[in-house]
């Protein structure tokens, strides 16, 4: 098989490009802590029986000095918490989200950020983040979930740690 010299150079450059892209992703993973959802430690759950899981009472729990966990249920056509009343969190805290759905597929995208995950009945989407500054973020459902999909939205309100009202927290674990 005859390969033209220019084509050999081209293939070499292509392989280099592929290596660079892989490198960028790994760098993002390791150095910048840019992660994607994976398998949750809790494994699968029964979407028809969320009452018997951590999701029975959606809301925010404090788990450490400056660490919080959010248990969120996304369902046709709202986020609990988030829709109606904003999900409120202190700036600078380490927040772990756990999200699931009792009905159909949904998605969450916190607009303007890379907080983006699918929400799948039976699975728990888990992701960690820090919201550095006090401001309000919009949150939308980005996977078609039925006739009123386009109304499914919520808000995340990040407040200065001093103004964070701890009485809104859930206590039970």
């Amino acid at each position: 098989m005859h390969i033209h010299r220019f084509e050999k150079i081209w293939i070499g450059l292509s392989l280099f490009l592929i290596a660079v892209c892989t490198g960028i992703v790994i760098y993002g993973f390791v150095a910048l802590d840019l992660k994607v959802p994976g398998i949750a430690d809790s494994g699968t759950i029964d979407p028809m029986n969320l009452a018997e899981t951590e999701f029975a009472q959606p809301g925010v729990r404090k788990v450490g000095e400056n660490e919080y966990e959010v248990y969120m249920v996304a369902r046709q056509f709202l986020f609990l918490p988030g829709t109606g009343r904003p999900l409120t969190l202190p700036a600078g805290a380490e927040v772990t989200f756990h999200v699931t759905s009792p009905d159909v597929l949904h998605g969450i995208h916190v607009s303007g950020t890379n907080l983006n995950t699918m929400v799948i009945p039976g699975q728990v989407a888990t992701f960690k983040t820090v919201f550095p500054e006090a401001r309000t973020y919009g949150m939308i459902c980005h996977e078609y979930c039925g006739p009123a999909h386009h109304t499914m939205e919520g808000l995340i309100e990040i407040v200065p740690p001093s103004e964070f009202d701890e009485t809104t927290l859930l206590t039970s674990r």
Partner: protein, 558 residues
């Protein structure tokens, strides 16, 4: 003497396939323009925001599944008959695949369009990805299964022709057009196993009510087992045109026969195992497997980059044959007045742009910025919506005269059509990409929210809306131009013995230089299956082990 005179029987089935393809293109394109106007809130009078999802289902199914598949079977039948110099072996069998595909299409379309008929109990606003627990009418799934089964039979038909040809040509290399057809179909057989299992084992029994609950992740994973490779099923027929016909249209010949074969077999090997890259944002799939999909996805850039090289160098060769000179000035010597050439060349340029946004999509963690935003339709309207669709439209200007024995009419309109498509798509696609960066989601009737507004990193939201809407209308105009040319030429072209120059010159480096191993289908299929097993066995086993239908969620009819 042209194709219709040599292969009158094959011609009829090619024409029939093209007719279905173009009807789907017309309806699907109309739906697309309605979406572009509705989403941007420029005009919301065609449908309600609830019906929007029925329209969107129609758009995805009719264009991405029906238009593509029917055009492809027509194009490949043309390629196989021509390169093996054979009519189909048994016309009854040939017509039976055509009709099974067509009946399937009609059933699925009825299920979808039922959603627009007031008072109808039939609907299937499940979108073309039909993720359960959203549940459509059973006809939707049954029709989809028939469409796939018919396409399998079409592939079997071509393999049969090939085997008969092989008896008379024991030592020849597989003719390139047939090689590309068979390798595309091998890829298709492997990847459609996923969607066939999904539809037949899980969704049809469930939509008929034999089981109530369904595990959403398993069918979604089976869908994407199919869903990435399907993009190569759309793309490889465009590559078939770019490798074998475009060099001729440019006035030259293909650079290298063997590298064309290498590109196709790389696609066969790599397309299916990387389906997870559509599930980067899914919980329930381990990051390790996502990583493997990332690497595979980036490697599959290689055959596309190789294609870019061959296409450009073949065009340059053609241009120089036509008297072109200089480093870049040779481009001016290309036949910019030939609608088929112009359409295919513009499709190739847009594909390069689509390739760049695709690299962002592929990059696992960077993808989280754009996953399920308008960026994604921005991307694939450059790839399937232009690289594939515009190539198909343009090459019709060259193939149709071979099927009808009549010349092309409205040549000026035909020449303007690809430029118009290019313009409309430039407007719509760049704005969709940027809207995605602003966080505006895809698949939504009303991307306006009560509680907050999107902030655009590049440009303004208002300007993007107008570009999407105007681009969508221009695309529709381009589509009408295409249909006008085709209908007029089909019925009104002049009958002449040689309505188009259909000779394809041999490659500069021909199949005599291509190593025999490239033609060893058993070897490549075996390797492809091993790679698929490697990628999918473990995750699928994990999902199936806790029960086929559990963790189960109840159906949600739409």
């Amino acid at each position: 003497m042209t194709f219709v005179d040599n292969y009158p029987k094959a011609t009829r089935v090619v024409k029939a396939s093209f007719i279905v393809a173009f009807i789907a293109l017309a309806i699907g394109g109309l739906f697309g323009t309605i979406q572009a106007l509705h989403r941007t809130n420029i005009f919301r009078g065609f449908v309600s925001s609830v019906e929007y999802y029925t329209v969107l289902t129609g758009h995805g199914v009719l264009l991405a599944l029906v238009f593509t598949t029917f055009f492809i079977v027509g194009l490949y039948q043309w390629g196989v008959s021509r390169s093996l110099d054979r009519e189909p072996e048994n016309m009854r069998f040939t017509w039976s695949w055509f009709w099974i595909m067509t009946i399937g299409t009609v059933l699925t379309t009825i299920a979808i369009v039922g959603g627009l008929v007031p008072g109808s109990s039939i609907s299937a606003a499940v979108l073309y990805t039909f993720y359960p627990p959203l549940q459509g009418h059973p006809l939707f799934y049954i029709g989809a299964a028939l469409l796939i089964i018919g396409s399998w039979m079409a592939g079997a038909d071509w393999f049969r022709s090939y085997l008969v040809w092989r008896k008379d040509h024991p030592d020849d290399k597989i003719p390139l057009l047939t090689y590309m057809t068979l390798f595309t179909m091998l890829l298709w057989y492997i990847c459609t196993i996923g969607v066939a299992l999904e539809v037949v084992v899980l969704l049809i029994p469930w939509s008929l009510g034999f089981v109530t609950n369904i595990d959403p992740l398993l069918p979604r994973t089976l869908f994407w087992f199919f869903g990435h490779a399907v993009v190569y099923f759309w793309l490889l027929p465009a590559y078939f045109v770019w490798y074998t016909i475009l060099p001729k249209l440019s006035g030259g010949r293909l650079f290298s026969d063997s590298l064309a074969r290498v590109a196709f077999l790389l696609f066969l090997l790599l397309s299916t195992p990387i389906g997870y890259h559509h599930q980067y944002a899914d919980p329930g799939i381990s990051i390790g497997f996502k990583f493997w999909a990332l690497v595979g996805t980036l490697i599959i850039l290689l055959p596309s980059l190789m294609t870019a090289f061959t296409v450009i160098s073949s065009m340059e060769h053609g241009a120089r044959q036509r008297g072109g000179k200089g480093y870049f000035a040779w481009m001016g010597a290309l036949p910019w007045n030939d609608p088929a050439f112009v359409g295919v060349a513009l499709a190739g340029i847009m594909f390069a742009a689509g390739g760049f946004s695709g690299m962002i999509n592929a990059s696992l963690n960077i993808n989280m910025l754009v996953h399920n935003t308008a960026w994604v339709p921005g991307h694939f309207h450059l790839t399937v919506g232009t690289a594939t669709a515009l190539t198909f439209m343009a090459i019709t200007y060259w193939i149709l005269p071979q099927l009808t024995g009549r010349t092309l009419k409205y040549k000026k309109l035909a020449l303007a059509q690809p430029y118009t498509w290019f313009l409309g798509m430039t407007l719509m696609s760049n704005a969709l990409h940027r809207a995605g960066l602003a966080g505006i989601p895809r698949r939504t009737a009303e991307p306006e929210y009560a509680g907050f507004a999107f902030e655009a990193p590049f440009g303004t939201i208002a300007e993007m809306k107008w570009q999407i809407a105007i681009g969508g209308v221009i695309l529709f105009v381009s589509l009408v131009m295409f249909l006008a040319v085709i209908v007029r030429s089909w019925v009104g072209g002049e009958r002449v013995p040689n309505p188009v120059d259909d000779y394809i010159p041999p490659p500069l480096s021909g199949s005599e230089h291509s190593p025999a191993i490239l033609d060893n289908m058993k070897l490549w299929v075996g390797l492809a299956i091993i790679l698929v097993l490697f990628a999918y066995t473990f995750p699928l086993a994990e999902m199936v082990m806790d029960g086929l239908f559990s963790p189960g969620a109840p159906p949600s009819p739409v």
